[in-house]
C-alpha cells in the first residue's frame, strides 16, 4: 500500500556548508541502489523522499543497506483534504497494528502527531491531532489514546502539495554516504575479517576498491570465486566494486626460495603493501584498508605492523582494531559475509606458512633479508599480470 518512503539522515544534517554535497551524494546512492527509473528521489526540508510503486519489502531491503540513512518510514502520500488524511491514517494504523506484538488483554494505545509546514492548511497541528485521533477512535475498535508511551504513533505531515501519513520508523544502517569521504583500497582475503573492515570503511562514507592476492596454483579458482562473492555481497551496500586480482605466485615462490623462514610472512606482507600502495595510487585511492586486528596472528603484532608499514607512505586504516574476534564474527553475520567467508577454500596458501613466524621482526633484519629479492622487478612482474574486474550486484 505504501508508495512513498521518508528518509531521515542523522549525521549529514550536522555538516554545515558541506551538507548539500552530502545530501546529493546520498540521493545519488539511493537512486543507484533502487535502480534508475523505478523511483523518484527528492529532497524536502531535511528529509529525502523516495517515491516508488515497487514492492515495499524490496525497496526497504535496499534502502536499509544505503549508508547515511538513519531511518526509513514507509508513508502514504495523500491529497490535502481532511477526509483523505483521516482515511489514510486509518489505513496506516491498521497496517501498523497488524504488526504490533501485544500481551493478551493489553490495549492497543496510540497517539497522533501532526506537523504542519504548510501554513496555508486551515487546521493547526493540535486541531489535526484531535480530528484524526477522533476518527481513528471511531473506526478502530479497542483503541486507546496514550500520549506518553503509545504503541503506535501515527504521524501526519502537512506539506505544500500533499499530506504524508506514516507510523513506522525502520532503522537504517547509519554512517555517511559512500563516496562522500573519498576512496580507499581494501586488502581483501577470503577470510572473515577483511570484508568486515571494508564494510566499516564504507560506513564512514569511503568508496572502496579491493585488491586480492591470488597465488594460483597454491590457491585455486574456487578461492578466487569466493573473493568475488564477498565483493558481490559488499556491493549490496554500494553500487559496484572494482576488484584488482594480483598474480602473487611468483613473489611467493621467490620469498620461499630466498628468504629466511621465520621472516617469510613479514616479507610477504611487505610485498603486498607495496603492491597495494601502487594500485591505490593508480586508482586514486587515498588510503589502504585492512582487516588487521592487533594480536590476532604473528603479522599483527605492533612490531610486525610497524615493519610491514614502513615500506609505504599511504595511510592504512584498520577499522577492526577495536573489535575482538567475537564481535567481528557477529558483524560479519549481520553484513551477510560470514557464510561465504567460512567456506574452506583459502587455507591452501598456508603451504608457505613457517612453523615459527617472527612475532617481533626488527627492521634491520627484514631489510637484510629482502636484499635477496629483486623487489622492483618482482613488483613490476606482479602488477603487469594484475587484472581489474568490475564486480556488480
Amino acid at each position: 500500500m505504501y508508495n512513498t518512503y521518508m528518509i531521515r539522515y542523522g549525521e549529514i544534517g550536522l555538516k554545515g556548508k558541506n551538507r548539500p554535497a552530502f545530501e546529493r551524494r546520498l540521493m545519488g546512492n539511493i537512486s543507484r541502489a533502487l535502480g534508475m527509473g523505478f523511483a523518484r528521489v527528492q529532497r524536502v526540508y531535511g528529509r529525502i523522499l523516495v517515491e516508488s510503486d515497487a514492492d515495499p519489502a524490496r525497496i526497504i531491503g535496499k534502502l536499509s543497506k544505503v549508508f547515511g540513512i538513519v531511518g526509513i518510514s514507509p508513508a502514504l502520500r495523500l491529497p490535502l483534504t481532511e477526509q483523505a488524511i483521516c482515511d489514510g491514517a486509518l489505513a496506516v494504523l491498521k497496517d501498523a497494528a497488524a504488526r504490533v506484538q501485544m500481551a493478551v488483554g493489553e490495549p492497543l494505545t496510540f497517539k497522533v502527531e501532526a506537523r504542519r509546514s504548510n501554513k496555508q492548511f486551515p487546521r493547526t497541528s493540535p486541531e489535526i491531532n484531535g480530528l484524526v485521533g477522533a476518527y481513528l477512535l471511531d473506526n478502530f475498535p479497542g483503541l486507546q489514546v496514550d500520549v506518553h508511551t503509545p504503541r503506535i504513533k501515527v504521524r501526519v505531515e502537512i506539506r505544500e502539495q500533499n499530506a504524508f501519513v506514516y507510523a513506522d520508523d525502520i532503522p537504517g544502517v547509519g554512517g555517511l554516504p559512500v563516496g562522500a569521504s573519498g576512496k580507499a583500497l581494501l586488502l581483501l582475503s577470503g577470510g572473515i575479517d577483511s570484508p568486515v573492515a571494508g564494510w566499516m570503511a564504507m560506513k564512514r562514507g569511503i568508496e572502496i576498491e579491493a585488491v586480492h592476492f591470488h597465488s594460483f596454483p597454491f590457491t585455486g579458482e574456487k578461492s578466487l570465486e569466493k573473493v568475488r562473492d564477498l565483493c558481490r555481497i559488499l556491493t549490496g551496500y554500494t553500487a559496484q566494486i572494482t576488484l584488482h586480482v594480483v598474480h602473487f605466485t611468483d613473489i611467493q615462490k621467490e620469498i620461499q626460495r630466498s628468504c629466511p623462514e621465520e621472516l617469510r610472512v613479514t616479507i610477504m606482507r611487505r610485498m603486498m603493501f607495496r603492491l597495494a600502495a601502487r594500485i591505490a595510487e593508480d586508482a586514486g585511492a587515498l588510503a589502504l584498508v585492512t582487516g588487521e586486528s592487533v594480536g590476532q596472528v604473528a603479522s599483527q603484532t605492533l612490531e610486525s605492523m610497524r615493519v610491514i608499514n614502513q615500506v609505504i607512505d599511504i595511510p592504512v586504516l584498520r577499522p577492526l582494531v577495536g573489535m575482538d574476534k567475537h564481535e567481528i564474527i557477529s558483524r560479519a553475520k549481520v553484513i551477510g559475509t560470514y557464510e561465504t567467508s567460512v567456506l574452506p577454500y583459502e587455507d591452501c596458501c598456508t603451504l608457505f606458512l613457517p612453523k615459527h613466524p617472527a612475532t617481533r621482526p626488527r627492521p634491520d633484519q627484514v631489510l637484510e633479508a629482502e636484499k635477496a629479492l629483486d623487489v622492483e622487478d618482482l613488483l613490476a612482474g606482479a602488477l603487469e599480470r594484475t587484472v581489474a574486474e568490475n564486480i556488480k550486484q
Binding site: 594460483f216 596454483p217 585455486g220 620461499q256 626460495r257 574452506p344 587455507d347 603451504l351
Partner: protein, 392 residues
C-alpha cells in the same frame, strides 16, 4: 609437447558421448510428451522410455522390468538403503568403511531411526575381508550394502566371495537384502547383478558418459522395496514423478555403448592406467600408489582409478598446478586442514600424515588416449619436482 587439455577426473563425472548429447536433444525437441499421457505425444515419449529401459537393462544383463530410473546414483542408493523394509525382526545393517557418502549417510539416517549399523573395516588396499562380513552377520541383519569399486582408490571388492558368504547365510534360513553400489564399476567392469546374486544394484549415467541427474536401481525379482517419494506411481510405484525422458534417453544411449564395447574397453583402460602409474612411480621417488597394486590380472584393481600420494605436498596444490597445465584431476578430499580432516577412505586404509595430505586421484575413461596419459605423467613429474624444490 604443447599445452593441452587432459581430463582425468572421470570418477567425478565423464564427458557425455556425442551420441548421448544428440539423443538428449532429440528427446527434448521431438519427444517432449509426458510418457503417462494417453495421446500420441505421450505414446512416443513412452516408447523412448522403454527403449532406454531395454538398453540399460541389457547393459546390466537384466530384464527391463527390473530397472527403476531415478534422479541419479545418490537417489538410487537412498532408495535401496532407506526403501528396504527392515521386516519383523530386522534391526541391523552391514556396510563398509569405504562406501560413498550416499551409502554412509543413508545408513547414518537409519541409525537415527534405531537401526544398528555395523561398518566393516578394510585392509591397507581398501579391500573388505568377506570373513569379517561372515562374523558380522546376525539373525536380525536385514540389509548388506557393499560397493563394487571404490571411487577414491579403485579397490574392487570381492563380490563373488561376499555372494558366497551371503548364500551360506541364506541357506541357514536368513533373508538379508544385498545392495551393491556399482556406480564406479558400471561401464568399466562386468556389472551383471543377476550373476552376482545381488538384490539391489545402483548405477549412475553421468559416470559412464551419460547425462547428469539420472541413475537406475536394479531390483531383483521378489525384492521388497518401499518408495521414498509419494506421487503418481511412475516406475512401478517405486519412483514417482514424471520421468526425466531426455536424461533417461541419454542414459539409454550411453548404456548401448557400454554393451557394444564389452570387456575389451576395460583392457584398454587398464593399459592406460598402468602407463600412468608406472610412469609416475618411476620418475618420482617417494610417490606411493594408494590401493591395490596395478598389476595385470589383479582382480582387486579397477582399470580406471589410480590414487597416488606425494608425501610432503598438498594434494590440492598439485591439483591446481596440474590444472594450470590443462590436466584435471581430483583430491581424495578437499585440502587437509582442520575443517577437512582428509579422505575417510584413505584413513580407513590406515593412510596417515603426509601420505594422506598429498594424495590425488587420476581417473580415466574410454575417451583418454596414450598421448594424453604421457602428457599427464610429464606434467605431474615436472610439477612435483618443482614443488619439492620449493619446500626445501
Amino acid at each position: 609437447m604443447t599445452k593441452q587439455e587432459v581430463y582425468l577426473d572421470n570418477s567425478a563425472t565423464t564427458r557425455p558421448y556425442p551420441g548421448v548429447v544428440r539423443a538428449v536433444v532429440e528427446a527434448m525437441e521431438e519427444y517432449y510428451g509426458n510418457p503417462s499421457s494417453l495421446h500420441r505425444k505421450g505414446v512416443e515419449a513412452g516408447r523412448l522410455l522403454s527403449r532406454a529401459r531395454e538398453a540399460v537393462a541389457a547393459s546390466l544383463g537384466a530384464d527391463p522390468g527390473q530397472i527403476v530410473f531415478t534422479g541419479g546414483g545418490t537417489e538410487a542408493i537412498n532408495l535401496a538403503i532407506k526403501g528396504t523394509p527392515p521386516g519383523r525382526k530386522g534391526r541391523h545393517v552391514i556396510t563398509t568403511a569405504v562406501e560413498h557418502p550416499a551409502v554412509l549417510n543413508a545408513c547414518a539416517q537409519l541409525k537415527e531411526q534405531g537401526i544398528e549399523v555395523t561398518v566393516l573395516p578394510v585392509d591397507g588396499q581398501g579391500v573388505v575381508d568377506p570373513q569379517q562380513l561372515r562374523s558380522a552377520l546376525r539373525d536380525d541383519t536385514y540389509l548388506v550394502s557393499v560397493m563394487y569399486v571404490n571411487n577414491e582408490v579403485g579397490a574392487v571388492q570381492p563380490l563373488d566371495e561376499i555372494a558366497g558368504v551371503l548364500a551360506d547365510f541364506r541357506r541357514a534360513g536368513h533373508r538379508p537384502v544385498w545392495h551393491v553400489d556399482a556406480v564406479q564399476a558400471y561401464g568399466k567392469l562386468p556389472t551383471r547383478p543377476g550373476e552376482l546374486g545381488v538384490d539391489l544394484l545402483s548405477v549412475s549415467a553421468h559416470k559412464a558418459h551419460g547425462p547428469k541427474g539420472v541413475g537406475a536401481l536394479y531390483v531383483a525379482p521378489r525384492t521388497r522395496l518401499q518408495p521414498l517419494l509419494a506421487g503418481g506411481g511412475q516406475e512401478n510405484g517405486w519412483r514417482s514423478g514424471t520421468e526425466n525422458t531426455p536424461g533417461i534417453t541419454g542414459f539409454g544411449a550411453a548404456a548401448a555403448e557400454i554393451t557394444r564395447q564389452g570387456p575389451e574397453g576395460a583392457q584398454r583402460l587398464f593399459a592406460l592406467k598402468k602407463r600412468l602409474v608406472e610412469g609416475i612411480l618411476a620418475a618420482v621417488p617417494g610417490a606411493v600408489l594408494n590401493g591395490p597394486p596395478c598389476e595385470q590380472g589383479n582382480p582387486r584393481c579397477a582399470p580406471h582409478i589410480a590414487n597416488l600420494s606425494f608425501p610432503g605436498l598438498r594434494g590440492e596444490i598439485l591439483l591446481h598446478w596440474l590444472e594450470g597445465q590443462g590436466v584435471y584431476v581430483s583430491t581424495g578430499s578437499a585440502c587437509a586442514s582442520r575443517k577437512n580432516p582428509g579422505s575417510h577412505v584413505l584413513k580407513a586404509m590406515g593412510v596417515k600424515g603426509e601420505q594422506l595430505e598429498g594424495a590425488i586421484r587420476f581417473s580415466l575413461s574410454a575417451l583418454n588416449t596414450a598421448e594424453e596419459i604421457d602428457y599427464a605423467v610429464e606434467q605431474t613429474v615436472a610439477a612435483v619436482r618443482e614443488l619439492y624444490a620449493l619446500y626445501k
